[in-house]
Every structure is written in C-alpha cells, then in structure tokens.
C-alpha cells in the first residue's frame, strides 16, 4: 500500500471507531453545532464527536500543528473529507473563523496575532462573525463608511454594519473599516478584529422570511480596538478581504459536501412524483442532472488543483451554480408538493413538507449572500471572458 492508501485506511478506522452512529445521519439546520465560547450540545453524541475531532486537530486539518491544526497536506486533507463523506459523518462543528479568517491570518497575520487567535480557533473556542456589509455598502462593498480613527495605541470605531450573520452569538468580529476617508474607495480600508464584548458594541437581530433570525445589525459607538488587531497593513484591508472571500468559496463547499442541511431531493420527491406524469418526471430528472453535473465539476476542480492546473475559470462558476441549484431544488420540491408545500409549522403537514417550505424560503438568500448571482456573472464576464467593463 502506498502512503496515501495507508492513511486512508487509518482515517477510516479512526472515524469508524470514533464517530457515534447518530453523527452519521444527514444533519438538519437545528442540529448544527457552532463552535465558540457559548457552544452548546443537544446530546452526548454531539459533544463526544466535537471533542474527539477537536483533540485530533481535525477542526483545522490542514493547519500546521504549531497553530493547533492537524498538519495534513492537501492530499491527506482531501482523503479525510472523502472518508467523512463516505461514512456520512457530520461536520463536528461549523466555524467561520477556521474556514475564512484562519487562512488569512496564516498568510497575513503577525506572530502575535497567530498565537493569540489560531490555537483557540482550532479548538472551536471562539465564534467569529463577518462585519463587511453596511446599509449602503452591499454589492458595492468598497463604499463602506464605518470609520476607525487612530487614537494612541487604539482605533476608535464608529458606524454600522448589517446582515452580520450570527452577530448576536459571536465572540469576535472581523470587519472592514475606513481608516483613510481621503483616499480612493478601495484604498482607505483596513481589516480589523473586534472583540464583541467591547464597550460601545450593540447588536440587534433581524427577522427573516424563513422565520429564523440568521443575521443582525451591529452598531459601533466609539468602540476602542487595539491597533495591533489590524490584519495586514493599515489601509491595505481590501486586499486582505479579497483573499478572505476566496476562502469563502471553499467554506461554501463545506456546506455542500455533506455538511449542509440539505434534503435528498429524490427521496423527498418520491411520494409526490408517483402519478405525477411525464412533465414532473422531466423536471425532476433535469434537477437531479444539474446536481450531478455540479458534483462532477467539484470533483474535476479538486483533481485539477492537485495536478496544479489553473482552476480560476471553472472555479469562478461554483458559487453561482451551487446557490442557484439549491434554491431551484426547493422551488421544484415545493411546487411538486402542491398546497402541501405551503406551511412551515404546525399540524397537518409532514416533517418533509414543513422542511421544504422553510428551506424554500431559507435558500432564497443563497443567491444574494456572499456576492449575488449578478455579481458572479459580472466577474465571469470580465475576469474569465475578458469582456470590457
């Protein structure tokens, strides 16, 4: 056996021995465990799985061991992901810090920032939120106005962020703030880490159409943040943020590859397809074929990356396709269910019917958040196809 095959066998043995059976079933929204100081478990199996993966260093399998990670290379990391997928293992926790901020700190962080934040992050002790968007800065993020003014060793931050996912549950925020109001749009922005317990931070949840409250408004009123919390150089935050958003794609794929609260479309559809006729059959087949095409493309991208081929082109389509497909899937299921797909709660509907209705609303945000579909299309047209602005 080659090294990688041995590693695969070892990983599988370990997962089989350590992943509780109830952690090998598809996850629902309510069952996702989010790391952080307020981490909570609904049952013992969740806690055991969380702690075992944490102690193995596999919350951040590809980070160096010195930073609290698992020290795996890209091939080994892929093997771990494949084996978890094959056994149907849930992600032991969801953690934006590890998936998005971590890689950026590894690249741009000072030694002090790394040792302060990475090991705690890798143990799932800190929950992070992303403070980029503002009421007047959405797709046009660089028009953000939250100000950070230097005062001795600190910056004093004032302004408002919005759509901050889980802002009310997070321990820390990484944010973009304007440090030079004179400079051109992108140039006067810094990337800064803010402790949400700092005096002057106010968080207000926003209710969504799906009935959940995923995100918040966050107000800063003269909040003092140590200048050492700036990541990268002052006024160079735009580049750091762009890098971070590249990791967002990888983070999204964590949700798609078995980690997302996603229903198996065909299983859910089966009772409603029976007697549905050729038109429903055709639409269902088309939806499944779309999913199939997407997962094959994810596989091709992985293989290209391992072969060190340029993945910029095909990589650029993934967010768009994934978000549109998930959203379209629930549109289809809901319509297939007819009037039975029209209730989110209460009696008289099956759990699947309620879930489809809720996810139909929930997935509406997929094509808006993290770069709306129209913005993705702009990027493909300009960067990949080279069409003029």
């Amino acid at each position: 056996m080659s090294g990688i095959d041995e590693f695969r066998a070892e990983v599988r043995r370990w997962l089989e021995a350590n992943c509780p059976a109830s952690m090998r079933t598809p996850i629902t929204n309510e069952e996702m465990v989010w790391g952080g100081s307020r981490v909570s478990f609904q049952n013992e199996d969740q806690r055991i799985w969380f702690e075992r993966m944490r102690d193995r260093g596999w919350f951040a399998p590809d980070w160096p061991s010195a930073c609290g990670g698992g020290g795996l290379g890209p091939r080994e990391q892929r093997v771990l992901e494949q084996e978890m997928l094959a056994l149907g293992c849930r992600l032991p926790q969801y953690n934006l810090g590890i998936w998005m901020l971590g890689p950026v700190l590894l690249e741009f962080g000072t030694a002090a920032q790394k040792s302060e934040h990475l090991p705690r992050m890798a143990r799932g002790e800190v929950r992070w939120c992303q403070g980029f968007s503002e009421p007047n800065a959405g797709s046009d993020l660089a028009s953000l106005r939250t100000a950070a003014v230097r005062d001795g060793d600190d910056f004093v931050v004032s302004g408002q962020k919005t759509w901050t996912s889980d802002g009310d549950k997070a321990d820390w925020m990484y944010a973009l703030v304007r440090t030079d109001p004179q400079a051109k749009k992108q140039q006067g922005i810094s990337f800064i880490m803010v402790d949400m317990k700092s005096p002057g931070v106010t968080v207000r949840p926003i209710e969504l159409i799906s009935g959940t409250s995923g995100f918040c408004e966050v107000f800063f009123d003269g909040v003092r943040v140590p200048a050492k919390n700036v990541v990268g150089d002052i006024n160079q935050g735009w580049g750091v943020a762009k890098r971070l958003l590249e990791h967002e794609r990888a983070a999204m794929s964590k949700f798609t590859e078995g980690g997302a609260p996603s229903l198996d479309a065909l299983v859910v559809a089966a009772p409603y397809l029976a007697g549905g006729g050729p038109v429903w059959r055709d639409r269902m087949a088309a939806a499944l074929m779309d999913q199939h095409a997407f997962s094959l493309t994810a596989r091709r991208l992985q293989e290209m990356a391992l072969a060190r081929e340029d993945v910029a082109g095909p990589g650029s389509i993934m967010k768009l396709v994934q978000s549109e497909q998930e959203s379209a899937k629930y549109e289809l299921l809901q319509q297939l269910m007819g009037h039975r797909g029209l209730s989110m709660e209460g009696e008289g509907f099956t759990a699947d019917e309620r879930a489809v209705c809720r996810l139909w609303l929930y997935t509406k945000s997929y094509t808006i958040a993290g770069g709306a579909s129209e913005i993705q299309l702009n990027l493909i047209a300009r960067r990949v196809l080279g069409l003029p602005a």
């Binding site: 055709d282 269902m284 074929m289 095409a293 389509i317 196809l385 003029p388």
Partner: protein
C-alpha cells in the same frame, strides 16, 4: 480514475488539433458542400486520419488499438467538432467497430476489425426508424425461414449509410416494439438482393441514408451475437457513441462560443464594444458556466465508458442531454449576438448551428436522455 487526460491522451488531442487545423479546417467542409460532394467526407483526409491511428484508437490491443480509451478518442471528437471535420469515425469506429468487438464472432472480428483499424472499410449502424431516437421501438422484422434469416423493414438517419461497405442492422426477431428483449444484429452487404439505399442530404452538409430491406435473405454468419439478446451490447455501444457525440458537440460549442466572445470584443455600437453591455455579458457568462458543467459530465461519461463502470449509462445520458441542449442554446445565442451577419452564409457560425442540430438528434436528444436518466435513477 481521473477526469483529467493523461500525457498520451493529451498528445493525441494536441496532434488532432494541429492536424485538423491544417488539413481539415471549416473551409474544408464548406468546399465539400459547395462542390456537392457525393460521399460527404474526403477519402484522402480519412486516410491521413487512419495514419494517425484514430480508427484504431479504441480497438482491442490485438487489433492494433492505441490504448488511449474513449477518453482519448473523445478528445479527438472534441477537436473534430471545433473544425466541423466530416469523418466516418463515429459510424465505422465507435458504433460498428464497437459492436463487432463487443458481440461479434471470432471470424467477424478477424475479418472486419483490422480493416476498420486501418481505415480501409466503412461501416454504418442502421437503427432509427421513427423521427426520434428510441432503440426499444425497433420494428424492422427478422425471422427464420427455410434455414435462413429474412429481414424486412426500413431504416432512416443511417449516418454514413450511403458509403458503407457493410451495414449493421438492428432488427426485431421477437417480442413487441417497446421491449428490450427481442432485438438482433445483422451484418448486411448493401449490394445484397433486396437492399435499397437512398442518400439523404442533411442540413449540416453531411449525408445519411434511408435504407429499405425487402425480404433480404441472410445466413447465420450474418448474425452478430446471440439472437434476441442484442440490447445490452447495443445500449453499451450506443452510450459510448452518445459520449463521443457529446464530445463533438462540446467542440462545436466551445469553438462557436469563443468566436462569439471575440466578436463581442470587436464589434462597436453606440461607440463602445457590444461586449460591454451587461445584458450580453450575463448571457455569455451563463453559457460559460454551462460549458464548464458539460465538460465535467463529458469527462465522467468517457471515464466510465473506459472503466465499464455501473454508472456509465446514466453518465452518457447526462452528458448527451446537456450537450444537446447546450448546443441548441449556445448556437442560437451565437447567431443572435452576431446580429445580421449571424444569419449569412459567409459567416461560419451558421455551419456550427447546423452541425449542432444534427448532433442533437443523433442517438437521443435532451428529452430522450432525461427520461432515460430518470429510469436509470429508478423513478
């Protein structure tokens, strides 16, 4: 197992690209059409393709196969699509060669495979009868009579049937139309008594034949494989052909798309390149997305064909459905985005449009393959 090409397959692709660009560019198809060529392909270029080893690419090793698999041959088909080269590669090599290798007797293989591999014999598959492809619906009858077989019926859309040295005819020897069981394959000499072949001119300047068999008498040696049980081998070979057609479509699509994107950058209206209009940018970007998805499906279908994997049928349908639909959409968009010049014969885009439509119908369009995919997924 990988979706990427290995070095040898890459070399084959690159050499195909070079060869076709110099020896069989789009202008060669135009010339073939304009001189009203009766064969619909150029024998001289076909001989050169044979020298490059293409017709032997997927043959068993003992018949001089290159060992590059359908992934390698698919890469050639993609290049064929880019220049709209007219070749008998699909009918002779993938379909007839595939069926003989898969189901033929030792003597049939020994007689025909070396000739196929050397590009010295042309064969064609006669399968479709109705306007739309559906192998289970075959009605052309085969029955035993006085120690012989008799075939009676009619076939259409027989690609390269007008130049073939032999036809492989799919006939119904048992059961009713709609059944998989009851199909048999026969090797038929077009010169045999009762065989009538009529050339039909397709919109893409290539030809297909309409074949009439009137009580044609054949002996047992003409039978390929066991009687009544041809469906599995046939379907497997059809899937390879579907994947190869999808590969050719991908070539047609990428070439037409590339030309269209270039035009968007060049053509100026309202003092700016038309490619700066967001309405056109987004439509172009959407096509790019679909092309990348198709590329993955196609690679997986070819990989599965080589591996003889369980999922090969579903993947072939996935690739052929998407390629057929995307060929339609891309070429319609390509014509539209070119404006008036897009509907002129001077521009090559029209030739790509026409080829894409013929390939769309070949061995099942999107509707057929979505239905088949649904069956394969169990609903």
């Amino acid at each position: 197992m990988t979706l990427l090409l290995d070095d040898e397959q890459r070399m084959l692709r690159d050499s195909a690209q070079q060869f076709l660009a110099t020896r069989s560019p789009v202008s060669a198809l135009r010339a073939l059409r304009d001189r009203g060529d009766e064969r619909g392909y150029d024998p001289e270029i076909w001989r050169e393709m044979a020298d490059l080893g293409w017709p032997a690419a997927v043959l068993p090793a003992e018949f001089g196969g290159l060992g590059v698999g359908y992934k390698g041959l698919g890469a050639v088909f993609e290049q064929v699509g880019r220049t709209l080269a007219a070749t008998p590669l699909l009918s002779t090599v993938v379909l007839a060669g595939g069926l003989l290798a898969e189901a033929g007797s030792a003597s049939q293989r020994d007689l025909w495979l070396p000739k196929i591999g050397a590009g010295e014999a042309l064969l064609a598959l006669a399968i479709d009868e109705a306007p739309r492809h559906d192998p289970t619906q075959v009605t052309l009858r085969a029955w035993r009579e006085a120690g012989h077989w008799r075939l009676d019926g009619q076939k259409e859309f027989v690609l390269d049937g007008h130049v073939a040295d032999r036809l492989i005819v799919v006939a119904r020897s048992a059961d009713a139309p709609g059944h998989r069981n009851g199909l048999s394959l026969f090797l038929v000499d077009p010169a045999a008594a009762g065989v009538q072949i009529e050339r039909t001119w397709l919109v893409d300047s290539r030809h297909a034949a309409r074949v009439r068999l009137a009580r044609v008498q054949l002996d047992d040696a003409a039978l390929i494989g066991a009687p009544d049980l041809a469906f599995d081998a046939l379907d497997c070979v059809l899937d390879r052909a579907r994947a190869c057609v999808a590969a050719e479509l991908l070539g047609v699509i990428t070439e037409a798309f590339g030309r269209t994107v270039s035009y968007l950058k060049e053509r100026v209206q309202f003092d700016v390149p038309i490619g700066s209009f967001q309405a056109l940018q987004h439509r172009a970007a959407r096509l790019y997305v679909e092309i990348e998805l198709l590329r993955s499906c196609l690679a997986a279908a070819l990989e599965a064909a080589d591996a003889g994997a369980d999922g090969a049928a579903a993947l072939a349908s996935l690739a052929k459905a998407r390629a057929s639909d995307l060929g339609e959409r891309t070429l319609n968009e390509a014509v539209q985005m070119h404006g008036g010049v897009g509907v002129t014969d001077v521009l090559d885009i029209g030739l790509f449009l026409k080829r894409a439509r013929v390939l769309q119908q070949a061995f099942g369009d999107g509707t057929f393959h979505r239905d088949r995919y649904a069956s394969l997924r169990g609903f």
